[in-house]
């Protein structure tokens, strides 16, 4: 499981009908260091965590999350979206050291 920092996945249902409220699952690899721990050699581990998550749907910002190092390592977050159009859903995670990580999925409707 050698995931690099910022590797991210978004999962949406396989079948989506127009207007349905869908559940979106996401995970991003990140240490989410609090700054309170030390290495075995006693060196402090500096705070290093995602503090901002932006979710856009077809380019419109639909949600924004303000995080601290109190979110667990490799953050997972689940939320919902009203799937009212076929468009990409994009998540952008930013950390306190300037790292920016992005992942997208296409919301498309199941053909009848």
């Amino acid at each position: 499981m050698a995931h690099a920092i910022g590797d991210a996945r978004i999962r949406i249902p396989d079948r989506i009908t127009r207007g349905e409220i869908i559940t979106v699952n996401s995970i991003v690899s990140h240490p989410m260091d609090t700054g309170f721990f030390r290495t075995k050699d006693g060196d402090p581990i500096p705070a290093y965590f995602i503090d901002d998550v932006v979710i856009t749907y077809g380019g419109d910002e639909i949600a924004r999350f303000e995080w601290t190092s109190g979110i667990s390592r490799d953050p997972v977050v689940t939320f919902t979206v009203r799937a009212d159009r076929e468009a990409p859903l994009t998540m952008t995670w930013k950390d306190n050291k300037g790292g920016v990580y992005r992942q997208s999925v296409d919301i498309a409707f199941t053909q009848a």
Partner: protein, 169 residues
Amino acid sequence: MSGSTDLPRRSFLQTLALASAGLLGVGAFGQSTRLLGVERPAGPDDPEIPNEAVARIYRERFGGRPITRGHVQLDMPAVAEDGRIVPVIIESDLPMTPERYAKGIHLIVDHNPDAHVAGFYLTPAVGQVSISTRIKMKRSTWVRAIVETNTGELWADYTQVRVTLNGCG
């Protein structure tokens, strides 16, 4: 936890104590909500404001407006074996229409080093309030989920979580 975490923990507590003393102008910790300058109609089952950090969150984020228990469901384990990974589910039956919607959810862990663990800011496009994630908890404490609507209402749910293993260092 290893002994190497003791030093930062102690200095954190000292910093917290000093900060609260400075802000209150007195040395006492754990003042009543009235002395901390927070006005809210607390229900009989509502947790007290335990410290200056939570009092400050209430002042800065909610401006002393009344917070009512209801319309929000905060689900967490009663006992968290590992404070590094504690699941949280926040749901609400508040509408998500352009006229009236939940615009912000504040997740507060009373005795964490950073008590305002997360804010989730929503728009009607999400369809409903249903958020889940995993958080760290330092020790057994009250957890608060406070939802603010676009019309300025504040709704909340509270739960107590017993933590076996400190997840914050």
